[in-house]
Structure formats: C-alpha cells, structure tokens
Subunit: 139 residues, 4 copies
C-alpha cells in the first residue's frame, strides 16, 4: 500500500504551515506507515562541542511522526503531539541529520510511532524516540 | 542555599553558546535546584491553530533543565540530555511561555528534573516533562 | 470535592477484581483527583541487595493511578494503561511502600497522573512516574 | 558473538535470586545483546476482561532487559532499573506471553534496551518498552 500523501505534497504542506521556521527538515520518503525526513545542520542546531542538539533531534522526531501519520490518514493538520519519549544514545555529529518514523499503532484516538535519528552516512542510531499523537475526533 | 550561577551569568552563557539561535528563551530565576525561563512567542514557535508548538515546549524543557543543573554544579556545558519524556496536557496558547524545572535527583552520573510549561499568566500546566541529563565524568 | 469512591469500596473492588494476586497493596486514601496506596513488603517484592523491586514499584504506580481515576469517574474497570514512564531515583528500602497519585489531566479519552513512590517513613521519593490511562468510549 | 551467559545459567540465577516469586517468566533465548523470556499466564496476571495485566508486561520488560545485559556483561546482579517507558499498543490476550529485549546501547554507566511483548502465537506487538538500567561502577 502506498502513502496517502506524496513527498511533494508533504513538503508543500510543511512549507505553508511552518513558514516562520528557518532551516526546516524536508521529507524525503512517504510510504504506508513510514516517513523519512532530512535536514542540513546549521549553527542554530549545534551544542557546545559540535553535536546536533537534543532539541533539533526532538523536533525532527515530532515532525517525522506527523508525516508518518499523514501517510495513512492524509493531511490532518490538527493532530497534536500527546507524548514524546526520547533516548539519546550516542552523539549525533554530521553535516546532515536523517529521521525515520515507523507507525507502531494507529488507533481511533492515538497514533504511536517509533523514530530513529542518525547523522547522514552513519549506521549508528544517535537517538530513539516513541512519539504519540492524538487524532482529533472529527476527521 | 543559593544558586551557583546567577541569572545574569546564565543568560550570558546561553548568549555565547547558542549565538546561532533566534528568539531564545531567557532565564528569569536561578535558585538552588530550581530554574525558570521565559520566551516571547513568535511565528516560528506556532502550529496550525495558533498553539505553541510541541518542539518549542520540548526545547524549553531541555534548556531549563540544563539551567537547573547549573544552579547546583556551576556552568557545566558538556552535560548532555540522556532522556526526555514529555506529556502534552493542554493546548499552550499565549504571547509568552514560562518553563520551570525542579531537580528531583542529582547523582554522580545522572541528573533528573521535573519540568512544567505554561503560557504566561495561565495557572494551568500545558505540558509536563521529566528530563534526564548525563553528567560527564571529569568535573 | 470528595472522591466518587470511598476507600472501603475501592479496596472491595480490588479484592474482587484481583483475587488471584497475593500481597496486594491497599488503598489508604481516596480524595478528589488523588489516591494513596500502601503495601507491606514481602520476599517476592525484593531484589538482590534487599531493595524493593522495580516491578513492585511499577505495579503500585499503575494501581494507584487506576484508583485516582476512580475518585473522579467512579468505578470504571475497563480503563486500561496506555503509557507508563517511571524514573527510579533512589533505592527504595523499607518494610512498607507508599504510592501516591495525583491526576494532572482527565480528558475525554485520556487520564494522566503523576505518581511518587517512597518507603514508608522516608521523606525521599524513591521513584517517580507519569502514568497515562485510556478511558473507554462508553461510560 | 554468543552470549556470556547460557539460558540454563540465566534461569538458575533467577531461580536463586527471586525464590520468593511465584509463576516467574523463564528465559528461552540468550544471544549477544538479545534475550527472550516466556511466561505461562495464570490468574494473578489477568485484569478484568481477561487481558494480561500492564504490571505483568512491565515486569517481563524489566526482567528480559536484565537478561539482555547479562548476555554482554555476564551475571551482574547489582545493575538496577533507572527508567522504564512502556506503551501499551493492543490488548495482550493469550495463555502465554513472550518478551524480547534487544540492547540499543551498552555504555559505561547505562544500558538501554528496546522490548516487545506479545501473546505467544500472535504476530502483533501488545506492548513496547524502552528500559534503561544503571551499571554499577565496580564490575
């Protein structure tokens, strides 16, 4: 089964909805229940020591889960994050960051995704998150 | 017991360390084991519907925990986030956002803080987080 | 506002519903949005080193949240745990264990509680949990 | 690479260490960085409605992570749970329960594992956990 939303439409939505944000991550893959986003790291994303910051990784985990939900439900802007649990396993060091979300569950009121974040080109997972979104009643 | 780092020194550190970030939150209180930060909301912090975004709240939770650790240990820039668990309880709507962290535990290798985020002027907690930081061996 | 369920009725419900369990914890307080349970520690609750085990504390966190929900909704047996996040802050050592839950949010589909677990007589919190329950649609 | 501890030795350790517990789960697989445990469900493990209880699943998640750590470090009884985050995705209904842990990271002070719990014979994951253990300094 393919995604209900294409990569192009996903990026167009994000461009429109978050026009105030700089240096956003961009969707590179939209499949059924799975999405990948990529971001070029710039100064605002770094911590002392040159690591990709925790907040940068959390933001990508949140966004890529939002996209993974769209692959099943279509564009549903009013879904909101209910819970995010993130473990930072290793330093994330690189010029670009990749975030991948896989839906674990899509219920009537909640969607739960597993997310892995890594530096582009690295095999090792920098951080791992479980992100839960609430799905609004009227769809 | 008072904080090992003043509000002024905390803000000076953040200014220096995160000079690439726009519209950061600013420290307003540093007490022993407790810190508060405040941020004026701007377009980049908002989601469709006008809510303060999840990532904005996660970023503040992460930063204010970092500051709460400084109140006990002094400025220790190489402490890094180990785990963040955040529950979004209610929409966060307002022109400014307040984040407060209280240390639950400060051990040899881990610091754990409880964080509450709310819109300035609101009594209700918008989101609640438990943030764990790793404390580097050489201090 | 008082609890919709008394301590006696709460314990009677637990006695009936979990008759297969040995050495359960017992409810000692039911107030609006708040519940406390107490358990005498026995061998099955201990880990090597004599500490109250993690699973014992998780079980109490889960049960006391269930009770805190009852204080607002009455006896709703089909509510089920959706998410539990627990941080073990300090060893829990003692002959009895106290668990206290406070509702952070009670929505249409989710209830979120904050739980503290401590050894009876100790001021220090051994573990801290955020427990989320799903509230079934038909009530 | 094989496990530092065999299935037999793992079960012997658990038998000795937790002799006060009834109806424990038993280790069925010990590989490098991976462990599986199985438990026959009995009345004490069930909730109203016949589901395998949340605490039963949490306990198995905690135990199987303990075992996964042993596969790499040998028998280290004093490692203790630092954090457990569990999402209950679907009802767990069956006569036996299977828990599988896979180490995501094994550092100097922390071990992090991903755990899946399912009813024996079912393909669908009932619950998913990330469990973090502290590794004591002297090893």
């Amino acid at each position: 089964m393919s995604s209900k939303v294409t990569v192009e439409d996903a990026n167009a939505f994000l461009e429109e909805a978050f026009s105030g944000a700089q240096n956003r991550s961009k969707v590179t893959l939209m499949e059924d229940g799975r999405a990948i986003m990529r971001m070029d790291a710039s100064e605002q994303h770094l911590r002392p020591g040159g690591y990709i910051s925790g907040p940068t990784q959390m933001t990508m985990a949140d966004s890529v889960t939002y996209m993974a939900i769209f692959t099943r439900l279509g564009i549903v802007p009013m879904t909101v994050t209910s819970n995010l649990n993130m473990n930072f396993l290793r330093p994330c060091i690189g010029s670009a960051v990749i975030a991948e979300a896989r839906l674990l569950k899509l219920g009537r009121t909640l969607a739960v995704a597993e997310v892995e974040i890594r530096a582009e080109g690295s095999e090792k997972v920098a951080s791992h998150a479980i992100v839960t979104y609430s799905i609004p009643a009227a769809r």
